[in-house]
Symmetry: C2
Subunit: 327 residues, 2 copies
């Protein structure tokens, strides 16, 4: 009987903890949090008319500007510049060859005056020409030590605490969470499992072509300086269809690059959820939208208002932005 009493006490305590713990503690009790909870309850309660079986609970998340920050520029761009600096000693010709010469002088504006072409040259010079295993090691090495230019934090600390909670909350409710990002798929996979709890096979992204080769009888996949797929804008529904093969019931983004993914997700039958993170907090993060060159949010903001998608006003809806604020 003593044991039984003890068990009862433990059960009572567990009950209290369960009630006390808010899975979305970093969200203020404003509209977006309420909309998220209402959606999840609708699709998970077995007696709900909008119940969705576990296998169909697919949620897709953009990465840059949705799960982690993207200012002063996409972090993968900062990775590429660090790689240019690291590789410069092996490339004496870069001292006089654009866009590398300007880049090495720290003049980004001059380096990318030519638009997409010089940018692609930098991507290929830093992302191709090695095996997939070698590239994975390069990314792992960089992400472990590289620091953000203004906050001086590790990039993996520049993730949004409310979104980490949202990922965990959805998974606890039977959702399978995927990243669908314009970023390079092999740039993300080495760290998304640890940081977001999203395994490599649930990451969809842009890619370059690879080639299978036997190197001294050992098979390798060589990364080629040739585009394979751009997972942005109309590419997002295409990428979702190719990789996931069924339509998500919830999608989370922050920019016009996510518009087609949100359209595709919400056009399915039954209840669907679409959310846009609006960067409105110049103090804790950055404030930008319609005129930003990074993460421009213009058309998608208009469509979100017309269609009643959930818009997160970062300043007012998030109690905490970054995990390090809590310390």
């Amino acid at each position: 009987m003593k044991l039984l009493a003890k068990s009862f006490l433990i059960l009572l305590l567990l009950g209290t903890i369960a009630i006390a713990a808010d899975p979305l503690a970093s969200w203020n009790d404003t509209g977006p949090k309420k909309a998220i909870i209402a959606f999840v309850e609708q699709v998970t309660k077995e007696d709900s008319p909008n119940f969705v079986p576990v296998l169909e609970r697919i949620a897709v998340f953009d990465n840059d500007g949705t799960l982690w920050a993207e200012q002063p520029m996409y972090f993968q761009g900062l990775f590429a510049f660090d790689r240019v600096k690291a590789l410069a000693p092996q490339h004496p010709e870069w001292k006089t060859k654009e866009p590398f010469a300007s880049l090495l002088r720290g003049d980004l504006k001059a380096a990318f005056a030519g638009g997409e072409r010089p940018m692609m040259e930098v991507v290929m010079a830093t992302h191709a020409g090695m095996s997939t295993d070698e590239f994975e090691q390069i990314v792992k090495g960089w992400i472990a030590v590289a620091r953000h230019p203004t906050t001086k934090k590790l990039y993996t600390e520049m993730v949004y605490q409310p979104m980490l909670e949202l990922l965990a909350y959805l998974r606890a409710n039977g959702f399978k969470t995927f990243i669908v990002s314009g970023g390079g798929v092999e740039f993300m996979r080495p760290w998304t499992e640890k940081v977001y709890g999203i395994p490599p096979e649930q990451v969809v992204g842009s890619s370059i072509k690879t080639k299978f080769e036997l190197r001294e009888r050992k098979p390798v996949l060589l990364r080629l300086a040739q585009l394979n797929f751009i997972d942005d804008k109309v590419g997002k529904p295409i990428g979702i269809n190719e990789h996931i093969g069924r339509r998500p019931i919830a999608a989370f983004g922050n920019s016009d690059g996510d518009l087609q993914m949100l359209q595709w997700t919400t056009a399915g039958t039954g209840v669907r959820f679409a959310l846009i993170v609006h960067h409105t907090d110049a103090e804790r993060e950055w404030a930008y939208d319609r005129k930003s060159s990074v993460g421009r949010l213009d058309k998608a903001l208009d469509e979100a208002k017309v269609k009643g998608w959930t818009i997160v006003d970062m300043k007012n809806d998030w109690k905490t932005v970054f995990p390090f604020e809590k310390n």
Copy 2:
């Protein structure tokens, strides 16, 4: 106390069932079954030097000739012919246009005398020109009623009972099971979950390009008559890398089209498992290998012997081949 006695009895009974049920009951107690069990025990026992964490337990399966039959020709080819017949009334020009004219007369040999080009024409005429949703409905409709030309069984009955047990056994041991097939990814996804327990997002295959479009404001993905990816031979490790993003620890195939997948899988560090299904049973199934035009097994058979990969001799190692034999 009465309740306790009852519970005890139930526990005892459950224990008996657990001991009695062989998860690989359709496998004879020969080498392959023993090798599979030894491998699974090695990677799942926590105190084993070869222990592999659950997240890394990735197993990849070819489909045609490995999970389901592929004679007298790949089932997707039979699907394409049925589609040609169904679409013929809308294409009066096919009566005189090759390869369709020969196909409609039932003369496959003449139709495909030209090799790959006429075959690709048939694929594009039957697989492209509709939305992804429409194609899914076409496949679902066909797979529900179409019958195999000689056995008259549904194609989804022409699956290998021992492989169904193997899939379930691996999943019960924490493995994530994937299909990596030369077949069309959108031809497989509508039914793999029901037949194999493999959800769409765990199916990797060949594909044609798609295009995102708004049709009367509704987003659709249109299937284009343009190749996107061939998931065969060197394409298999490339497809695995693109979709799964980590190297499998076990791979199962049956033909030279699987060779690079087996090489890629076994070249990883730690213990790895590779298995080849050798079609040796002319009575219960079909017997073919080095000279077959469908599912040719030649180079991979030599390499399997050299490298000590597990080879299933279908005739001797499988107690049952098809599920319908058990009835």
